[in-house]
Assembly symmetry: C2
C-alpha cells in the first residue's frame, strides 16, 4: 500500500492501548483505507508494527513508520515517564506535532502521559490557561450531552471553566453540527444562590461571555440532556464519568443475580439480553472512540486503553475531521478575543 | 387508638411531601402499630390530620397532634421560609426537638428547609463544624456504599470531611452492623499525588484519624462497593446522587425507544419488564426511606418529596432505631475526643 502525501498528517501511537500494536495498527490502516485523504504515520517499534502488517497482508512505505525504542506502560507515572522515556511512542508522537511534522496525534496509551505530553510538548494555544477533555454521555432525548472538563485538570478557576465553555461550544458546533449549543454550569440546584464559590463566580463570567449560557444545571440534567454542554471542574467531571461507566457493571451484576434465582428468571434474562445490551451500551461511551484534548496547539486525541480496532479507526477519522474543520484555529480565534477583552478591561 | 407514653418521642411532619398529609399520617401510624414502643407526635394542620385519620378509621389522642397553621411548600426558599413561617410544621417540629419535647423529627417536606431548621433550630453537636447527609447507593457486591456528604454543605474544608468520615463510620457501624467500616476518600485516582487540594489535605487528616481509612477511591468505586463509606464534599456528592437517580430515566427511555422499533422488540421488552424493574429499582434509593442529618443535637430524618406511606413508615422506624442505639450520643463522644485532641495539639 502506498499512501498519498496530502496536507493532513496524522500520527498514531502504535504502542498505545491494551491491545497494541494489533488494534492500533489495524484500526489506523482501516481509517486510512476509508478516507485515503491524509498521510498516516505509525509511531512505535518498527519490527512489531511490521509483524502486524505482514500477518494481516498489509504493507506500508517505510516513511510512514517512525521507529521508537520505548513504550510508556499503562500504569507508569505520567510526568516521570514523559521525562525519562524520551524515545517513547507518546513523547515522539507529540514531538512530531510540535515540530510541524504531523498535524494530529492519536493514542490509546497511558491517558495521563498522553495529556502531559500534549500539554507540555505540543503546548497550549495562546490564551488558553488549561486544556480540557470532554466526554459525550448519552441523553434521554436520544442525543448526547458533552461534559467539559472530565479530568484534564482539577482545582480549576472560574476563568478556566469559561475557557472550557468556549472551547466546548466550538467543538460541539463544528463536530456535531449543533448551532449555538446550550451551556449549563454544574451545580447543586438551578437557583443562582446555590452552588459553591467556584460556581457562583463562574456563573457571572458565563453570563457575559459569548456562549449560549442557560444557567445552572444539576447532576440529573446530564443524562436528561437539558443542555448540550455541561461545564464543571475536572475533579467532579472525572468522578461522574467513572461513576457512569460503573453503572453497567452494577446492572450486569444485578441481572446476573436475578438470573441465578431460578430457571424462570434465567429464561427471562436470556430473552431480555438483546434489549439490555442495546440499552446499556451507550453508557460505555469510551468504547466508541477517543476524546480530544482541546486547547493544545494541534490535534491530540486520547483513547481508552481497551480501544478496539473500530475505536482506533474512529479516533483517527475524528482527528481528520477536526483538521478539516480547522478546530484548533477556531479555538485560537475565539480565545484571542477573550484574552484581548480581558487585557483591555 | 391510645398511644403509650414511652421514653422515645418521634415528631412527624404531617404536612411534608407531595402526598401529605395522607402518606405522612398513614405511614407514621403504620410505624407506630409495628413498634408501639414510642410516642407519636403528628405536627401539622389538625383538621387535615383528623380527616385522614377518620377516613382510614384511625383515631389518635389529641395530645398526639401538635397543630400548626402554616406549611412550607416544596419550592420555597429554605432560609426565608423558616424565618417567615414560624408556625409551619417544619419549624415547629424542629422546635419540639430543641425544647426537649421530642427526640426525633421526621419530614418528607422541603429538603433545604428541613436541613436549615434542623441545623439552625435544633443546633449542632458540640465539636461538629458541619452536619452531613449520607446516601446509601447499591453496590455490585450486593450491599450498599454510603456516600457522605450528599448536599448538606458545599465548600467543605478538610476538617469537615474528617467529621463526615467519623459520623458516617458510627452511623454505618451502628445502623448496618458493619464492624469497623472501611472509608475511602473520593478522588480522580487511587494514587496519593492525584486529586485536588481538598483531597490532598483531607487524606493526611484521615490517615491519622480513628477511622478505617483505606485510601483514595474513584467514581467507579461507589457502585463497585470497594469501601463501605465514601467521603466527599457535598457539591460533588449531591451531583453524583442526582446523576445516579437519573440513570433510571435514561434506561427507561432507551428501552421505550427499543420497544417502539417493531413488534418483536416490543414483545422482548414486555417479557423483560420484570428483570428490568428488579435490576433498576435499587438505584432509586430515596424511595426506600429518608436519610438522617448527622451532627445535629437530636435525630432529624429527611425524606424524598415523593415518599410513599412505606417510605414514611421506614423513616419513623429508622428514627426509633437511631434513638435506641444512641447515635447522637455516640457521635458526640467521638467528636469530643477529636475536638480535645485538636485543642491539645
Amino acid at each position: 500500500m502506498t499512501l498519498k502525501n496530502t496536507n493532513c498528517r496524522i500520527a498514531i501511537d502504535a504502542m498505545g492501548g491494551d491491545f497494541a500494536p494489533q488494534n492500533a495498527v489495524i484500526g489506523a490502516v482501516q481509517a486510512y483505507n476509508q478516507s485515503k485523504d491524509f498521510q498516516l504515520i505509525l509511531v512505535g517499534d518498527r519490527e512489531k508494527i511490521m509483524e502486524v502488517l505482514n500477518s494481516n497482508n498489509l504493507s506500508l512505505d517505510s516513511e510512514n513508520i517512525v521507529h521508537t525504542s520505548q513504550t510508556i506502560e499503562m500504569h507508569e507515572s505520567p510526568t516521570l515517564a514523559i521525562k525519562t522515556k524520551q524515545d517513547s511512542s507518546i513523547v515522539v508522537g507529540a514531538k512530531l506535532v510540535k515540530d510541524g511534522k504531523a498535524d494530529a496525534f492519536v493514542s490509546a496509551g497511558n491517558t495521563g502521559a498522553m495529556m502531559a505530553a500534549c500539554t507540555l510538548i505540543i503546548g497550549r494555544i495562546r490564551g488558553v490557561g488549561r486544556p480540557t477533555i470532554g466526554a459525550a454521555l448519552p441523553s434521554e432525548k436520544g442525543g448526547v450531552c458533552h461534559v467539559f472538563d472530565v479530568g484534564a485538570s482539577v482545582d480549576s478557576k472560574p476563568i478556566h471553566l469559561l475557557e472550557y465553555a468556549i472551547m466546548g461550544s466550538i467543538f460541539v458546533q463544528e463536530m456535531y453540527g449543533k448551532n449555538n449549543p446550550t451551556v449549563g454550569l454544574l451545580s447543586v440546584g438551578e437557583e443562582e444562590d446555590k452552588g459553591n464559590e467556584l460556581v457562583k463566580a463562574t456563573s457571572k463570567l458565563l453570563k457575559e461571555a459569548k456562549v449560549n449560557f442557560v444557567g445552572n444545571v444539576e447532576g440529573r440534567d446530564i443524562l436528561k440532556g437539558t443542555v448540550d454542554i455541561v461545564v464543571c471542574d475536572g475533579y467532579v467531571g472525572n468522578i461522574i464519568l467513572k461513576f457512569a461507566e460503573s453503572v453497567i457493571g452494577l446492572l450486569k451484576g444485578k441481572i446476573r443475580n436475578y438470573a441465578n434465582q431460578g430457571l424462570w428468571n434465567k429464561i427471562r434474562v436470556l430473552f431480555a439480553r438483546g434489549t439490555l445490551r442495546n440499552s446499556l451500551e451507550d453508557m460505555d461511551y469510551q468504547s466508541h472512540g477517543g476524546v480530544p484534548l482541546l486547547g493544545i496547539n494541534g490535534i491530540g486525541i486520547i483513547g481508552h486503553g481497551s480501544s478496539s480496532e473500530l475505536a482506533i479507526k474512529n479516533m483517527v477519522l475524528k482527528a481528520k475531521e477536526m483538521y478539516d474543520k480547522k478546530l484548533t484555529q477556531k479555538i485560537e480565534e475565539s480565545l484571542k478575543s477573550l484574552t484581548e477583552r480581558n487585557n483591555g478591561s
